[in-house]
């Protein structure tokens, strides 16, 4: 009997849906004849005893999930997310660089060093990329530290906050859309797809509006209703990062698709996989096939 470790951090468990998704993952592994157990940060040494590791905690190259991924790697244990995917996807400068290197379609994107944040440079960015601009602190997740700015003063207000956390920030062309595609891939194969409907009060999939958290709507989409060029773009984007599990966000305005980002550790607790009941089964099979 093979042993699957599911690495979780109770500090980042935010909802009953996340907990239910973890239990569903464990149940699927057990139904497939494997032993499955949750591994918490304090039990990290147990990873050595596992045959595969599935990390389901908020990943970052500087936190305990990276340690877990490296522990698995050191011991030759298949792991999702692997350390390189955490490193690349955890940093938008790194992630967009990987996509640009492979020629993946993106909104116009500029990396700006804090020493280049001058009035002249910022004004030229509005000239080049248009108005408004989207500023991203590179380690943003769940749309935190993603802001839309309409003028130089607004740019400086946001940039000042972001450069406290990173010496480089990402500046992007704003592309309006009512929804984003979230297409999940595992080892470059389509795993699931859904639409994230952006709330009318914001431009992000999640935002704090007047002190209330506003979430996007999630609508699972069956395979035959996903535009083929969206799938093709998603596969190319996932391939630019690696062979792991990724959620690729794509805007598809008038058939002109571009990648907004590639996420490691994609959410699977909000109905993303409604039309794809075998998502966890495929993940578990993939891990043990390695």
């Amino acid at each position: 009997m093979s042993r699957l470790g599911i690495f979780v951090d109770r500090k980042t468990l935010a909802s009953a849906e996340q907990l239910n998704a973890l239990i569903r993952c464990r149940d699927v592994a057990e139904q497939m004849g494997h032993a499955a157990e949750f591994i918490f940060p304090v039990d990290i040494q147990k990873i050595r005893k596992m045959d595969a590791l599935f990390i389901r905690a908020r990943t970052d190259p500087m936190n305990v999930t990276y340690v877990a991924a490296k522990m698995a790697e050191f011991n030759g244990i298949p792991v999702i997310d692997d350390p390189r995917s955490i490193q690349v996807c955890g940093d938008k400068v790194n992630m967009y660089s990987a996509l640009l290197k492979k020629g993946i379609a993106l909104p116009k994107t500029v990396f700006l060093s804090k020493k280049d944040v001058t009035v002249e440079r910022v004004a030229s960015l509005f000239d080049t990329l248009g108005t408004p601009l989207v500023l991203k602190e590179p380690s943003t997740s769940f749309s935190q530290r993603v802001e839309r700015v309409r003028d130089v003063a607004g740019f400086f207000r946001v940039a000042r906050r972001f450069i406290k956390l990173s010496d480089w920030i990402v500046v992007q062309q704003y592309i309006e859309s009512k929804y984003d595609w979230r297409v999940g891939f595992l080892d470059k194969q389509l795993l699931y797809a859904c639409k994230y409907t952006i709330p009318s009060v914001t431009f992000k999939i999640q935002a704090s509006v007047n002190g209330h958290i506003v979430y996007c709507g999630v609508e699972s989409v069956p395979p035959d209703r996903i535009p083929p060029h969206v799938v093709a773009l998603g596969i190319a984007a996932a391939d630019a990062i690696g062979d792991g599990l990724y959620g690729v966000d794509i805007k598809n305005n008038n058939g002109d698709a571009c990648v907004i980002e590639v996420n490691d550790n994609p959410s699977l607790e909000s109905g993303e996989d409604q039309y794809y009941p075998d998502v966890y089964g495929k993940i578990v099979s993939h891990l043990f096939a390695k």
Binding site: N63, V93, S97, T128, L165, W168
Partner: protein, 268 residues
């Protein structure tokens, strides 16, 4: 190497060499064939021979946050006080990697060196004695040496805690009020912390165990400048962590060695 070169490095920030692709407006990775070495050759340097100009052998400024990118051994070496994630040195390394250049340290090595459990496992695998470590959310066996394990923590900010009250306060601080787990190492009674600076894998201190560790650390991670923190006890010397070094904390001999490495660079 002097203020001019430093200024040249400042002026040639890596963002500038991400060339815009005409017509698309999208930034792309510059063609490696058109990549300009960073920083560029010094104007007016003497001793040019066979197309290679050696930099002036004057001591570099080594001022706070100064970043030097030197060509050495068929690749680039990035010399900086800190290689912390998302800093200018980190992104300088990353942008060189995306141009296909060989660069030391690599962005992967930087993360491995600064994330303590990962660092210790890699060094241990090389046969160098290291501290045993554990991860905790709240409690540690006392006394212990503790480190934060999150983006906001720095390895230079470690603490030895000997009683519950001090441990509680320190843990609250390094975990951002319990938000993140932390790393601990048992601290033996009578043990002491010892710090040594390694410059391109060498130390000024002649102790063989420290020198062996410095050499292994350089082989593994390629960090030109790094502080090694050890726990010494009963004749043993166990590596506890690696951390950044401020130029201002280098002694005269260390500054001279580092300056010599930076100045002896060769530009194509």
């Amino acid at each position: 190497m002097n203020k001019r070169l430093h200024a040249a490095a400042e002026e040639n920030g890596t963002t500038q060499s991400l060339a815009a692709v005409p017509g698309t407006g999208t930034l792309a990775i510059a063609d490696p064939r058109t990549f300009t070495p960073y920083p560029p050759p010094l104007p007016g340097t003497s001793g040019k021979k066979n197309g290679i100009a050696k930099a002036a052998r004057r001591e570099p400024a080594l001022t706070k946050d100064a970043l030097y990118v030197i060509r050495k051994d068929h690749g680039y070496h990035v010399v900086a006080e800190s290689y912390f994630y998302k800093t200018e040195p980190y992104y300088t390394i990353l942008s060189l990697e995306y141009r296909g250049e060989v660069v030391k340290p690599s962005s992967r090595a930087v993360l491995e060196a600064y994330v303590i459990p990962v660092c210790l496992e890699r060094v241990r695998a090389r046969g160098i004695p290291v501290c045993d470590w554990g991860i905790s959310q709240a409690y540690v066996p006392l006394p212990a040496l503790i480190y934060g394990l999150n983006y906001y923590a720095t390895n230079a900010e470690y603490a030895v805690v000997r009683d519950n009250s001090a441990a509680k306060e320190r843990i609250r601080h390094i975990t951002n009020n319990g938000k993140y787990p932390f790393c601990f190492q048992k601290f033996p009674e009578g043990g002491e912390i010892a710090e040594y600076t390694a410059i391109f894998g060498k130390t000024v201190d002649p102790r063989p165990d420290v020198a062996a560790c410095a050499s292994a650390v350089y082989d593994l991670f390629g960090l030109p400048l790094v502080r090694m923190i050890f726990i010494r006890h009963d004749g043993s010397c166990l590596l506890s962590s690696l951390s950044p070094v401020h130029y201002s904390r280098l002694d005269e001999q260390e500054r001279a060695i580092l300056a010599a490495h930076i100045c002896s660079q060769e530009f194509l």
